[in-house]
């Protein structure tokens, strides 16, 4: 026999968790505003550190960059709703929703390994190290689709120079946060968490390599790697680690997660290369989101200025 349990509260009365959390945020905000009024602070002053955190918060004083392409920028709604972010989900349409409440403050980045002084830096300290630039880059995913994104950030070399790596530093390793409570994708072992990526020192020092904290003139949305990520436009997208908590300088080539997952499919270098196919699909063409016909993929994703980094290297072997 089916026994129907009567609930004290009809389900229509139960507040969805998201609304509930938003209400808490609102209450906290209201309390802060009240406190601010009491102490006589202007609300702008109080809000600035935490407001800069919110996606959609405008980044001030962004300079244009000569590295930018003048190709049509992919719509914001596509770049923010079509994400490969396995920490949240393997479904590209899900990170936008699942990352909504991801906490990007307080956030620190550990800088260690072969450096003069190991340190733990607040992300807001890092963001202020150099003037923000807008870099409109092509971004090519290893799966065969591409986008054009106006990132905001500055050259990774700015941070590396301040970190003062020692002579032993030959590579840089980037580690993404591991927090299964906030990142449902990490509750399964789809990949070996935490996500780790790496660059050779000269690659990391190349001015095109971007330390990124914004896009479309605003702070990075959570699903796009907030609060801090790298963007390496001449490499397949997975090389551009998101939500970075650790930057380590090493004398040997660091592991990188996808290479570990399938060494014959994803190399350490993973430079965009139309002549070297993925074992399971061709890399000769790509689908630019929003376009009907596929377009040819360019060597180094069209960033020929990095070619000298690989002179003398067999790029078929070092794929």
């Amino acid at each position: 026999m089916l026994i129907k349990q009567s609930s004290d509260i009809p389900s229509s009365e139960i507040t969805p968790k998201r609304l509930y959390l938003n209400r808490r945020k609102f209450l906290a905000g209201a309390a802060l505003a009240g406190a601010a009024a009491a102490v006589g602070l202007r609300s702008g002053e109080l809000a600035s550190p935490s407001m800069a955190v919110q996606a959609n918060a405008k980044i001030d004083g962004i300079k244009k960059s000569s590295f930018s392409t003048n190709e049509a920028i992919t719509p914001y709604k596509d770049v923010t709703n079509y994400n490969n972010y396995y920490e949240f989900s393997t479904d590209k349409y899900e990170p936008a929703g699942l990352a909504k409440d991801f906490k990007t403050r307080p956030w620190t980045v550990t800088i260690d390994g072969a450096v003069e002084k190991k340190q733990v830096l607040d992300v807001d300290t890092i963001i202020k190290m150099a003037a923000p630039e807008e870099r409109i880059y092509r971004h090519r995913c290893v799966e065969g689709w591409s986008i054009v994104v106006p990132w905001a950030g500055f050259s990774l070399s700015e941070l590396i120079n301040k970190a003062k790596p020692t002579g032993k530093a030959k590579f840089v390793e980037f580690t993404t946060i591991e927090d299964p409570k906030q990142m449902p994708g990490q509750r399964g072992r789809v990949l070996d968490w935490p996500y780790v990526e790496g660059l050779r020192m000269d690659e990391a020092m190349h001015p095109l390599a971007l330390l990124c904290f914004g896009m479309y003139g605003q702070a990075l949305p959570n699903q796009d790697g907030a609060p801090l990520r790298i963007v390496v436009p001449w490499k397949y997208g997975f090389k551009s680690a998101k939500a970075i908590v650790r930057i380590r300088f090493t004398d040997s080539q660091p592991r990188n997660t996808w290479n570990q997952m399938a060494p014959n499919e994803y190399g350490f270098y993973s430079n965009v290369n139309p002549n070297v196919d993925h074992p399971r699909w061709s890399q000769a063409k790509e689908r630019r989101l929003g376009e009907f016909l596929k377009r040819p993929t360019l060597m180094f994703n069209g960033y020929d200025q990095v070619a000298s980094l690989y002179s003398g290297m067999d790029l078929k072997k070092n794929f």
Partner: protein, 231 residues
């Protein structure tokens, strides 16, 4: 009227009621099978296919090919286990819908992915394992779709027709492998399809092994009796 189909496998459902029901039911099932396509069309029309519409269309048509293959393969076990023998009357429709979505999936590939570049397609089929196996699965369905008519059953004869249509097992296996080989890291969906297929094929193996065993038992029961006087 007695409740149709809730008896054991041996009990025949009351035929007149079921036949008249099937007549009305068939168009409904037919239209229901078109819902996935209608949804795709509606989403395409309203711009709700997201950032990469062609990928969505490719995945949806592929998914529904596999689902209809599994539904088709589920008919026999469900009929036998529940006694709902009239289900057989829907099997051809489901099989043809598997083929229909397979054709759409294949068309998406040759048109929206390869833009009718025959050279590229041949290269793909020869070089990419997951394309090769997917293509094989699709090609295997073609003779089944062509010989799905009552006329062809008669022409081939029941036994030969049935033997030919066992190709669907290999088509479904190819479909699951095709899916398995194309995902990057998260194999849980292909695994789910694979598990369902394993159950459906496992049922057939069990039935087949059971009948073999029965045959052997009757032989071996006779055996010892003959041997005793000799020993």
């Amino acid at each position: 009227m007695t409740a149709a189909g809730d008896g054991g496998a041996t009990r025949m459902p009351t035929a007149p009621l079921d036949l008249s029901m099937i007549r009305y039911f068939k168009p409904v099932v037919f239209l229901a099978c078109l819902i996935p396509l209608a949804l795709l069309g509606w989403k395409a029309y309203s711009g709700a296919l997201g950032a990469n519409p062609i990928e969505v269309i490719t995945h949806a048509t592929g998914d529904w090919t596999l689902r209809f293959l599994l539904i088709t393969l589920a008919i026999t076990p469900i009929r036998k286990l529940t006694g709902r023998l009239w289900l057989i009357r829907f099997r051809r429709m489901f099989g043809l819908f598997a083929f229909f979505y397979g054709v759409l999936h294949f068309l998406t590939y040759i048109w929206l992915d390869k833009f009718f570049n025959v050279h590229e397609m041949l290269h793909d089929v020869a070089k990419r394992k997951f394309i090769t196996v997917g293509f094989t699965g699709f090609v295997l369905l073609i003779p089944l779709a062509l010989t799905s008519t009552t006329g062809w059953i008669r022409r081939l004869g029941g036994k030969r027709w049935q033997a030919l249509h066992r190709l669907i097992y290999f088509s479904a296996i190819a479909g699951v492998i095709h899916y398995w080989w194309l995902v990057k890291a998260d194999i849980h969906l292909p695994l789910e399809y694979g598990a369902i297929l394993a159950v459906l094929l496992g049922y057939r193996i069990a039935v087949w092994a059971g009948s073999k065993l029965d045959a052997n038992k009757t032989k071996s029961l006779r055996g010892p009796r003959v041997e005793v006087p000799e020993g």
